[in-house]
C-alpha cells in the first residue's frame, strides 16, 4: 500500500470539509452544553446547576432501562444485518443485466422516508388488516405486536433489517468490486478453496468498507427514533421505548430541558466511546 507522505498541504485539502462541518457542529454543541448545566423554571430564566442533571440521569432507573433496551436492539440488528448484507453481496451477480435490477430493487427500502416506513409496517403487521399480521395469525401463530412485547420486538427488528440491510449490501458489493482480478487468479493457481478465498482475500480487502458499514449501522441504530415511534410509539407499555424515544418524551413531553440536554450529552458520549473503541480496534494494524 505504501506509506503516507508528510505533507502540511493536507490541511488545505481538508479545509472546505472542516469549515462546512464545523459551522454546523460547533454552535449547536455549545447550545446543548449550555442547557445541560442550567435549570429553567420557564419564562426563559436559567440557573446554573452544575452536574446535577448529569447525576440525576445517570442514576435514574428509567435511563438504565432505556439504555439496556437500546443496547440490545443495536446488538441484535448489527448481528443480523452485517453478516446477512455481506452474504448477499457475495451472492449477487457481478455482470450482466441482473446487476441493475438487483441494485435498484435493493435500494428501494432505503429511499422511503422514515415516517412512511414506520406507518407502512404499522399497518402491514396489524393482526386483522395487515398482510403480515393476517398471514402469521392464519398460520396459527398468536401474533399481535400492539399487545405482546415479544411480537413488538420481533416486528421492530424485522422492520429494521428490512430497511437497512441493503446499506450493508451496497457497501460490501462496491468493496468487492474493487478487488483486482489478479488476486482471484493467484488464489486459483495456489489451489485455494472458496472459503480460503473469502477468508484470506475478500474479507481482508473489505475490511475498510465493513468498518464503515458497522459504524454507520451502530450509530444510526442507536439514534433511531422515527420508525419505532411510528410503529409502536414505544409500546406496548414501554417495551420498545428506545433511548431516543425516551429522550424526546422527556424533552418535549415534560419540557425538562435540563435533564434532556444532559441525557443527550450522555447519549452522545456513549456512542462516541463505543465507536472510538471499535474504530481503534479495526484500524490498529494500519500504522505505516
Amino acid at each position: 500500500m505504501g506509506s503516507k507522505t508528510h505533507n502540511a498541504m493536507g490541511w488545505l485539502f481538508v479545509l472546505p470539509v472542516v469549515v462546512l462541518v464545523a459551522f454546523n457542529a460547533i454552535i449547536p454543541l455549545m447550545a446543548v452544553v449550555n442547557y445541560s448545566v442550567q435549570e429553567t423554571f420557564g419564562n426563559n430564566m436559567f440557573f446554573f446547576e452544575g452536574v446535577k442533571w448529569f447525576e440525576q440521569v445517570l442514576h435514574s432507573d428509567r435511563f438504565h432501562a432505556s439504555l439496556g433496551r437500546q443496547l440490545m436492539f443495536s446488538g441484535i440488528v448489527l448481528a443480523i444485518e452485517v453478516p446477512l448484507g455481506v452474504a448477499i453481496a457475495l451472492a449477487m451477480p457481478r455482470r450482466g443485466p441482473w446487476v441493475s435490477v438487483c441494485l435498484v430493487l435493493m435500494a428501494l427500502p432505503l429511499l422511503i422516508p422514515w415516517n412512511v416506513v414506520g406507518a407502512m409496517w404499522n399497518i402491514f403487521a396489524l393482526p386483522d388488516i395487515g398482510m403480515l399480521g393476517r398471514l402469521l395469525n392464519d398460520l396459527g401463530i398468536n401474533y399481535n405486536y400492539t399487545q405482546q412485547p415479544i411480537s413488538a420486538w420481533a416486528t421492530l427488528i424485522a422492520m429494521d433489517v428490512w430497511h437497512w440491510t441493503s446499506l450493508v449490501v451496497l457497501l460490501a458489493y462496491a468493496g468487492l468490486s474493487a478487488i483486482p482480478d489478479a488476486y482471484y487468479q493467484a488464489a486459483k493457481i495456489d489451489g485455494a478453496s472458496s472459503w480460503a478465498v473469502f477468508r484470506y482475500i475478500q474479507l481482508p480487502k473489505m475490511k475498510r468498507v465493513l468498518t464503515i458499514a458497522i459504524l454507520l449501522r451502530f450509530m444510526d441504530s442507536f439514534n433511531i427514533h422515527t420508525e419505532p415511534f411510528v410503529l409502536t410509539g414505544g409500546g406496548p407499555g414501554n417495551a420498545t421505548t428506545l433511548l431516543s424515544i425516551d429522550l424526546v418524551k422527556i424533552a418535549l413531553g415534560q419540557f425538562d430541558l435540563g435533564p434532556a440536554a444532559a441525557m443527550s450529552i450522555i447519549y452522545f458520549l456513549i456512542i462516541l466511546l463505543l465507536s472510538w473503541i471499535f474504530y481503534v480496534v479495526m484500524t490498529r494494524d494500519e500504522e505505516h
Binding site: 500500500m1 505504501g2 503516507k4 507522505t5 508528510h6 505533507n7 498541504m9 493536507g10 481538508v14 472546505p16 470539509v17 462546512l20 462541518v21 454546523n24 447550545a31 446543548v32 446477512l84 448477499i88 451472492a91 449477487m92 441494485l103 435498484v104 430493487l105 435493493m106 435500494a107 428501494l108 427500502p109 429511499l111 422511503i112 422516508p113 415516517n115 412512511v116 407502512m120 399497518i123 402491514f124 395487515g130 398482510m131 428490512w162 441493503s166 451496497l170 457497501l171 462496491a174 468490486s177 474493487a178 478487488i179 482480478d181 482471484y184 480487502k205 475498510r208 468498507v209 464503515i212 439514534n223 427514533h225 431516543s244 429522550l247 424526546v248 447519549y267 452522545f268 456512542i271 472510538w276
Partner: protein, 266 residues
C-alpha cells in the same frame, strides 16, 4: 451449491418487495378500505390519492423542493469530500487521525439535538426557508460520510499508481481527474447515492429550516397525520412517489458501483 447462488439475492429481494407491494397497493386504496379490512388487492381501485398529489401545488412542489436541496447537498458533499479523502488517504499532517474521527462524531448525535440551534443559526444568517439552508445543514452528516467512504476506497489503490503517473509526466489535477477518479468509481457511486439517500429521507431538520418556499416533501407528508385524521392512502401514495427519484439515482450510479466488475474482474 454454486448453481443455487442466485437464490440468496432472489429471496432477499422477495422479502424486500413484499412490504413495498403493500405500500403501493395501499396507495391505490382509500383510507377507509385500508383501515376497514384486509385486502390483498385494492377492492376499490382508486387514483384519488395520486390525483390529489399531482394537482395540489403544495404536494408536488414538495417533491421539487426536496429534489433541489438534495441535489445541491450531494454535489457539495462529494466535491469537497474528494480532496479531503485524498489527503487523509495519502498524506500525514498534524492532527489527521483525530480530525478524521471527529468528522464521524458529527453523525453520532440524534438530529433532534440540532433542531432548535439550527433554527436559530440559520435564521440569524437570513437563510431560513431556503433550499441552500437545508443543503448546508445536511452537510453536517453527509460530508463525514462521503469522506469516510471515499477514503476507504482510495486507500485500497496502491500508491504506485500515483507515482507511476507522475513519472509519466502527469500533473496532479490531470492525474486526479483522468486516472484516480475512475479507479475509485465504485466509492464515488456509493458515496453519491448515500448522500442523496440520507438527505432525501431526512425529515426533522428539513422541516425545521423551512416553512413555505422550500418546504420539502417529507414535511408535507406529516400534514397527513394532523389535519383530517391519518390519511393513510395519501401517505402511501406520497411515499411511493418518493421512491422514484432515488431509484433513478441508483440506476444512474449502478455502473460506478459495479465498475470493478465491469472492468472484467472476477
Amino acid at each position: 451449491m454454486r448453481k443455487l447462488g442466485w437464490l440468496v439475492p432472489a429471496l432477499y429481494i422477495l422479502f424486500l418487495l413484499l412490504p413495498i407491494y403493500w405500500l403501493v397497493s395501499m396507495s391505490f386504496k382509500t383510507t377507509n378500505e385500508i383501515l376497514g379490512a384486509f385486502t390483498l388487492w385494492p377492492k376499490k381501485f382508486t387514483l384519488e390519492n395520486y390525483q390529489k398529489i399531482f394537482t395540489d401545488p403544495t404536494w408536488y412542489n414538495g417533491y421539487i423542493n426536496s429534489l433541489i436541496y438534495v441535489v445541491i447537498n450531494t454535489v457539495i458533499s462529494v466535491l469537497v469530500a474528494l480532496p479531503a479523502a485524498y489527503a487523509f488517504s495519502r498524506y500525514r499532517f498534524l492532527g489527521d487521525k483525530h480530525l478524521f474521527f471527529w468528522l464521524l462524531t458529527n453523525r453520532m448525535a440524534p438530529a433532534a439535538v440540532f433542531a432548535l440551534p439550527f433554527f436559530q443559526l440559520y435564521s440569524a444568517i437570513g437563510l431560513f426557508d431556503t433550499h441552500i439552508a437545508v443543503a448546508l445543514a445536511h452537510c453536517l452528516f453527509n460530508i463525514p460520510l462521503a469522506v469516510w467512504i471515499l477514503e476507504g476506497f482510495m486507500s485500497s489503490v496502491p500508491r504506485q499508481l500515483d507515482e507511476t503517473a507522475y513519472l509519466d509526466g502527469y500533473g496532479f489535477w490531470r492525474f486526479f481527474g483522468k486516472i484516480f477518479v475512475p479507479t475509485i468509481a465504485a466509492g464515488i457511486g456509493v458515496a453519491a447515492f448515500f448522500c442523496f439517500m440520507f438527505s432525501w429521507v431526512e425529515l426533522l431538520l428539513a422541516k425545521t429550516l423551512t416553512s413555505v418556499a422550500a418546504k420539502p416533501i417529507a414535511a408535507t407528508m406529516t400534514r397527513t397525520a394532523s389535519s383530517s385524521g391519518y390519511e393513510l392512502g395519501l401517505l402511501a401514495a406520497a411515499g411511493t412517489l418518493t421512491i422514484i427519484p432515488g431509484a433513478f439515482v441508483i440506476y444512474f450510479v449502478r455502473n460506478y458501483i459495479a465498475k470493478g466488475f465491469a472492468l472484467g474482474r472476477v
